[in-house]
C-alpha cells in the first residue's frame, strides 16, 4: 500500500519543511544567498515559535497544567475567562503587565532587571535544533545535542543573578540551592545522554530520529534506565515540584523569585514552562523517536506525532508535580551522587558493551531487540539492587501505628499491650 500523499512536494502537509523549502528555492533564484539564509531562519522561528511554542506555553503550560492539576486535586481549575476558561492565560498576562515591577531599595537594580531577560533567551534558542519533522528543523547542525546541553545550562546563571541581586535572605537561599543542585545533576544528566549517543552513534538530533526510524525501535526501549535518570535530572534542572528546592514554596517562600513581581516574575514563570516544554521535546527526540511512529508517519503528519509525544512527556511533568512531596536539599544532592551517577555509569558500561557486540555482528537488525529485552530486565534489577544497597528498606517503615486498649505510660517498641 502506498501512502496516499506523494512525498517531497510542497503540498505534502506531512512535513511542513517541504513548503518552506519550496518557497526558499523559488526565492533563491531572485535573491542573494545570505538573504535567503536569514529568511529561512525567520520562517523557521515564526513557524515553530509563534505557531507551536508560544501557544503551547499559554494553553498547555499555563491553562492545561492548571486544569489538569485541578482535576488531580478534585477541583475545577480555571473555568471563567472565555470558553472553558481558555483565555485565562491571556488574562493573567494582561494582569501581570499591568502590575508594578517592584525593586527593593537594597537590591542590585541592574542585575535584577537583566536576570529575567537572560532567563528568556536560552528558552527560545533551545527550539532551534529540535526537529519537528524530517525537514522541519531551523538549524540542523551536526552537534545539535551538544548545543542543546550547552544552552540548557545557561538559565542557572540567570536564576543565580536573580537570587543574588534581590538582597533577600530567602532569595539567596534559593540561589545557592539551585547552583549546588545544577552542579550535582549536570553530571548524571550528561552521562545518561552519553548512553543514547553511544547506542545511536551520533550527536545530531536528526540523526537520532533517523536511527529510530531505521531500526524501527525507539531509544527508550534499549535505554529505559537512561530515560528515567534523564527525566529526574531534567526535573531538577527545571525546578519542577518533586525537586523544586530552589523555589520551595513551603520552606523559603518563593526562593529566588521572592522579590520579583509583575512581568519580571511573569517572564520567569512563563519560561519555566518553556524550558519544561523544550525538555519534553528533547526527550521526545532523543528517546521516543521524535516524529516517527513505526511507519505511522507515512499517514499522519510527523509534526503532529512529535507534538503529541511532547505533550505526553509534559503530562508526566504535571503528574509528578501533582503527586510527589519535595526532597530536602541534602537528600537531593545525595540522590544525585549516590544513586543517579553510579546508575548512569553502569548504564554506560552496559550500552558500550552492547555496542561493541553489535559492531562485531555487523549491526544486525534483530540484535537490537535482544538488547532491549536484556536492558529492560537489567535496569529493573539494577535499580532495585542499587536502591537496597543505598539503604532502601520499605519493610522497615511501619505505616500503621501501634494500637493499645488502655491508657498508661510509655510503651517501648516491641512490647505488647
Amino acid at each position: 500500500m502506498t501512502p496516499f500523499l506523494t512525498s517531497d512536494r510542497w503540498y505534502d502537509i506531512r512535513d511542513l519543511g517541504n513548503l518552506s523549502s519550496a518557497i526558499l528555492e523559488a526565492l533563491d533564484k531572485v535573491l542573494p544567498f545570505e538573504v535567503v539564509y536569514i529568511l529561512a531562519a525567520v520562517i523557521g522561528f515564526v513557524a515553530s515559535f509563534l505557531l507551536f511554542v508560544l501557544p503551547s506555553q499559554l494553553f498547555v503550560g499555563v491553562y492545561g497544567e492548571r486544569r489538569l492539576i485541578g482535576r488531580m486535586q478534585s477541583r475545577l481549575g480555571p473555568n471563567r475567562v472565555g470558553p472553558f476558561g481558555l483565555l485565562q492565560p491571556i488574562a493573567d498576562a494582561i494582569k501581570l503587565i499591568q502590575k508594578e515591577a517592584l525593586t527593593p531599595t537594597q537590591a542590585d537594580r541592574a542585575v535584577m532587571y537583566v536576570a529575567p531577560i537572560l532567563f528568556v533567551m536560552p528558552a527560545v534558542l533551545l527550539w532551534a535544533v529540535i526537529p519537528f519533522g524530517e525537514h522541519m528543523v531551523i538549524a540542523d547542525i551536526p552537534v545539535s545535542l551538544m548545543y542543546f546541553l550547552a544552552v540548557s545550562s545557561l538559565p542557572v546563571i540567570a536564576t543565580f543573578m536573580a537570587g543574588w541581586s534581590a538582597n533577600n535572605k530567602y532569595s539567596l537561599f534559593g540561589a545557592m540551592r539551585i547552583v549546588s543542585m545544577v552542579i550535582s545533576y549536570e553530571s548524571p544528566l550528561v552521562l545518561t545522554l552519553l548512553g543514547a549517543v553511544v547506542l545511536t552513534g551520533t550527536i545530531s538530533l536528526s540523526g537520532m530520529v533517523a536511527w529510530a526510524d531505521e531500526f524501527n525501535i525507539w531509544v527508550v526501549f534499549v535505554q529505559p534506565l537512561a530515560l528515567v535518570i534523564y527525566f529526574i535530572c531534567v526535573s531538577a534542572e527545571l525546578n519542577r515540584t518533586p525537586v523544586d528546592i530552589a523555589e520551595a514554596e513551603s520552606e523559603i517562600v518563593a526562593g529566588y523569585l521572592t522579590e520579583y513581581s509583575g512581568m519580571k516574575w511573569g517572564l520567569f514563570y512563563g519560561m519555566d514552562i518553556g524550558y519544561a516544554l523544550a525538555a519534553s521535546g528533547f526527550i521526545t527526540t532523543v528517546f521516543l523517536g521524535g516524529w516517527t511512529f513505526f511507519g505511522l508517519e507515512a499517514w499522519i503528519p510527523g509534526w503532529l506525532i512529535f507534538i503529541a509525544k511532547t505533550y505526553l512527556i509534559y503530562f508526566l511533568f504535571i503528574w509528578t508535580r501533582g503527586t510527589l512531596p519535595r526532597l530536602r536539599a541534602d537528600q537531593l544532592m545525595a540522590f544525585a551522587w549516590k544513586f543517579l551517577l553510579p546508575l548512569g555509569v553502569f548504564n554506560l558500561l552496559i550500552v558500550s558493551t552492547e555496542r561493541m557486540l553489535w559492531f562485531e555482528q555487523d549491526y544486525a537488525k534483530g540484535l537490537v531487540y535482544v538488547f532491549a529485552a536484556v536492558n529492560i530486565a537489567l535496569s529493573a534489577v539494577l535499580v532495585y539492587v542499587w536502591a537496597r544497597f543505598n539503604g532502601y528498606r520499605p519493610e522497615r517503615t511501619p505505616t500503621r501505628p501501634r494500637l493499645v486498649k488502655q491508657a498508661g505510660g510509655y510503651i517501648p517498641v516491641g512490647e505488647r499491650s
Binding site: F173, S250, E251, R321, P325, R400, P401, R402, K405, G408
Partner: protein, 369 residues
C-alpha cells in the same frame, strides 16, 4: 590557596507572613548555611485577651469565645468549656446530650485532622494535592455542622447542660455518608503519602522527641502519642460517656514527625468507629438540662479537660458566686506543644524546621488567644 572559606550565621525570620506558619507565628531562626543553630519563637500577633474578656461576661456568653480560640475545632473547645462549668456547678447532662456531644466532638476531630494531615503534607512539599483532598472530606463535615448548628466554623453549639438544639432529621443520613466516605479517604491518603519514599525520607527521624522529653515538656495529644506514650484523656479520664465506646489509642514508635502523621491518620479511623457506635446507640430523651441563664456556680474552682484534636484542652475556672467567672484560664494544647520546638528544630535544616512545625499542628488563634 589564600585561606579557608569563612561562613557566619545569620538570622532569618520564618514568619509572621510565611506560607508554612499557618497564621501569624514567627520563628526567629539563626542559621549557619541551611542548618538551624538556634530558634526563638515570637508570638502574640493574634492576642485578643480572651481570658480577660471572659471575666466580664456570664458563663453562657463565654461559649462563643471558646469558638474563636481554636477555630479549627470549635466544637471541642465548646465542649471543654461547658464541661468545666458543669463540673464547677455540679450539672448533669442527659444521655442524649452526651451522645450528641461525642458525635460532634469526633466529627470535629475528623475535620481538624483533615486539615492537620493535609497542611502537613503541604509543608513537606506535596504541592496542594493532599490538602485539597482533605478539604473535600472536611467540607462534608462542615455541612453537617451547618445543618445542626447554623455555622460551619465557629459553631457555638454546646451549651451548659447539653447542646443548643436537637438534631435535625437530615443529620443522620449526612453522618452516615461521612462514615461511608471516610475510611476510603484515609486509605487514599495512606496510599498517597504513608508509603511514599520521599515523604518518609522527609519526615522519618525529623524532630524526634524521646518519651522523657515529651513528658517533661508537658506535651499532649498526637505529640505525646507519637512518642509512644499511651495517653488519651478519652480513655484515661472519660467524659461524656466515652467509656461506653470501643476504640483504641494509636501510639507511634520513635516520636518523629512521621509517627505523629500516622497517629493522626489512625485517630481518624478510631473516630469513625466511635461515631458509628454513638450514632447506632443514640438515646432518646432530652438533649439539655435546663440551666438558669445567669448561672452562678458555688464558690470554688474546677479544672476540666478533654482530648481535643491537638491534645489536652483544659479549662481552669474559679468562681466567686458571681454571674461571670472570676478566673477563666485555657490550657491551650498547641501553645504548650510548642515548648519543645527549639529542641526539635535545632540541628536540622530550615526545611526540617518547617516539617516539625507542621507536625505540631499549631493553630495560632489558640496559641495567642
Amino acid at each position: 590557596m589564600s585561606g579557608v572559606i569563612k561562613s557566619e550565621p545569620f538570622v532569618i525570620n520564618i514568619g509572621p507572613q510565611h506560607p508554612s506558619t499557618h497564621g501569624v507565628f514567627r520563628i526567629k531562626a539563626t542559621v549557619d548555611g541551611e542548618k538551624v543553630i538556634d530558634a526563638e519563637m515570637v508570638m502574640g500577633y493574634l492576642h485578643r485577651s480572651m481570658e480577660k474578656l471572659a471575666e466580664e461576661r456570664t458563663y453562657t456568653q463565654n461559649i462563643p469565645f471558646t469558638d474563636r480560640t481554636d477555630y479549627l475545632s470549635s466544637m471541642s473547645n465548646n465542649l471543654g468549656y461547658c464541661l468545666a462549668v458543669e463540673k464547677l456547678a455540679g450539672i448533669e447532662v442527659p444521655p442524649r446530650g452526651n451522645a450528641i456531644r461525642v458525635i460532634m466532638a469526633e466529627l470535629q476531630r475528623l475535620a481538624s485532622h483533615c486539615m492537620a494531615v493535609g497542611a502537613f503534607a503541604n509543608d513537606t512539599g506535596a504541592w496542594q494535592t493532599p490538602v485539597m483532598w482533605a478539604f473535600r472530606e472536611r467540607e462534608k463535615i462542615l455541612d453537617i455542622f451547618e445543618v445542626t448548628s447554623g455555622a460551619r466554623l465557629t459553631c457555638n453549639y454546646m451549651r451548659i447542660g447539653g447542646v443548643a438544639f436537637d438534631l435535625r432529621p437530615e443529620f443522620e443520613p449526612m453522618v452516615r455518608r461521612v462514615l461511608r466516605d471516610f475510611p476510603p479517604f484515609i486509605d487514599e491518603m495512606e496510599g498517597l503519602l504513608s508509603g511514599n519514599e520521599i515523604f518518609i525520607a522527609r519526615t522519618k527521624g525529623v524532630g524526634v522527641l524521646t518519651p522523657e522529653m515529651a513528658t517533661n515538656a508537658s506535651l499532649s495529644g498526637p505529640m505525646l502519642r507519637g512518642s509512644g506514650i499511651a495517653w488519651d484523656i478519652r480513655k484515661a479520664d472519660p467524659y461524656c460517656g466515652y467509656e461506653q465506646y470501643d476504640f483504641d489509642i494509636p501510639i507511634g514508635y520513635n516520636g518523629d514527625s512521621y509517627d505523629r502523621f500516622i497517629v493522626r491518620l489512625e485517630e481518624m479511623r478510631q473516630s469513625v468507629r466511635i461515631i458509628q457506635q454513638a450514632l447506632d446507640g443514640l438515646p432518646g430523651g432530652p438533649f439539655r438540662t435546663e440551666v438558669p441563664l445567669a448561672l452562678r456556680p458555688p464558690k470554688g474552682e474546677a479544672y476540666a479537660r478533654i482530648e481535643s484534636p491537638r491534645g489536652e484542652l483544659g479549662y481552669y475556672l474559679v468562681s466567686d458566686e458571681g454571674p461571670s467567672p472570676y478566673r477563666f484560664h485555657i490550657r491551650p494544647p498547641s501553645f504548650i506543644n510548642l515548648s519543645a520546638l527549639k529542641e526539635m528544630t535545632v540541628g536540622g535544616t530550615v526545611a526540617d524546621a518547617i516539617v516539625v512545625l507542621g507536625s505540631i499542628d499549631i493553630v495560632v488563634g489558640e496559641i495567642d488567644r
